[in-house]
C-alpha cells in the first residue's frame, strides 16, 4: 500500500520556466510534509516543508502548496535553473510518528 505517490516519474522544463512537481497521499494522519532533492550518488537534501495547518510555504524560488481536502501537495520552482535537475522526493510524517514515508520520486530535467 503506497501511502505517498508521485505519479510522474519524470518532468522536463525549459530554463526560466516554472516546474511543478506533484504528490498525493492517502493517510489522513500525516501532518507534516517535506520535499527532498537528490543528486546521483548523494543523499537526499532537505528543500522545504509544510505543516498541515498551512496551505502554502515559500522559500526563495521554492513554494510548496498543500490541499488537505484533496490530499495533494505540489512543489513549484520558479524560475527553474539547470542546477535544479535532480530527483525530487515527497515525504510525509505522522504526528508523533518516527519515520518518513516517501514517494518514489520524480526526475526533473531543466533544459538550458
Amino acid at each position: 500500500d503506497q501511502q505517498v505517490k508521485q505519479n510522474s516519474p519524470s518532468l522536463s522544463v525549459q530554463e526560466g520556466r516554472i516546474s511543478i512537481l506533484n504528490c498525493d497521499y492517502t493517510n489522513s494522519m500525516f501532518d507534516y510534509f517535506l520535499w527532498y532533492k537528490k543528486y546521483p550518488a548523494e543523499g537526499p537534501t532537505f528543500l522545504i516543508s509544510i505543516s498541515s495547518i498551512k496551505d502554502k510555504n515559500e522559500d526563495g524560488r521554492f513554494t510548496v502548496f498543500l490541499n488537505k481536502s484533496a490530499k495533494h501537495l505540489s512543489l513549484h520552482i520558479v524560475p527553474s535553473q539547470p542546477g535544479d535537475s535532480a530527483v525530487y522526493f515527497c515525504a510525509a510524517h505522522r504526528r508523533y510518528g518516527n519515520k518518513l514515508v516517501f514517494g518514489a520520486g520524480t526526475i526533473l530535467r531543466v533544459k538550458s
Binding site: 505522522r94 508523533y96 519515520k99 518518513l100
Partner: protein, 116 residues
C-alpha cells in the same frame, strides 16, 4: 561534523557474507534513522533510535538485519548472510530531538551495497 556521515561509501560483497555499515549523525542530534533505497524505488524506513529508548525496528525486512547505536551517537547497521536482494543504497538520517512533531530529518550520502 557539519552533516551526517556514512562509511563506507561503497561496499561490494559476496552472497552469504556479513556487512557492517556505519553512520555518524549530526552532532547534538538525538534521533537517528536508517532507510534504504532499492533500485527505482523510494526510500524505505528500516529502524529508528531516540536517546535511550528502545529502538523502533518495525521496518527491518528480516532477522538478518540488526542495528546498534552506541553512546547515543554512532550507529552500525549489520546485515548477516547477505542476499542479492539486499543490494541497495542504505541511508542514515538524524534529527534534533525525534519528537515526531514537524521535525526535519537530515540525510547522509549513503552506502551503496552490492551483493554479488
Amino acid at each position: 561534523g557539519a552533516g551526517v556521515s556514512q562509511s563506507p561509501s561503497n561496499k561490494v560483497t559476496e552472497k552469504g557474507k556479513d556487512v557492517e555499515l556505519r553512520c555518524d549523525p549530526i552532532s547534538g542530534h538525538t534521533a537517528l534513522y536508517w532507510y534504504r533505497q532499492s533500485l527505482g524505488q523510494g526510500l524505505e524506513f528500516l529502524i529508528y533510535f531516540q536517546g535511550n529508548s528502545a529502538p523502533d525496528k518495525s521496518g527491518l525486512p528480516s532477522d538478518r538485519f540488526s542495528a546498534e547505536r552506541t553512546g547515543g551517537s554512532v550507529s552500525t547497521l549489520t546485515i548477516q548472510r547477505t542476499q542479492q536482494e539486499d543490494s541497495a543504497v542504505y541511508l542514515c538520517a538524524s534529527s534534533l530531538a525525534g519528537t515526531g512533531v514537524e521535525e526535519t530529518q537530515y540525510f547522509g550520502p549513503g552506502t551503496r551495497l552490492l551483493v554479488l
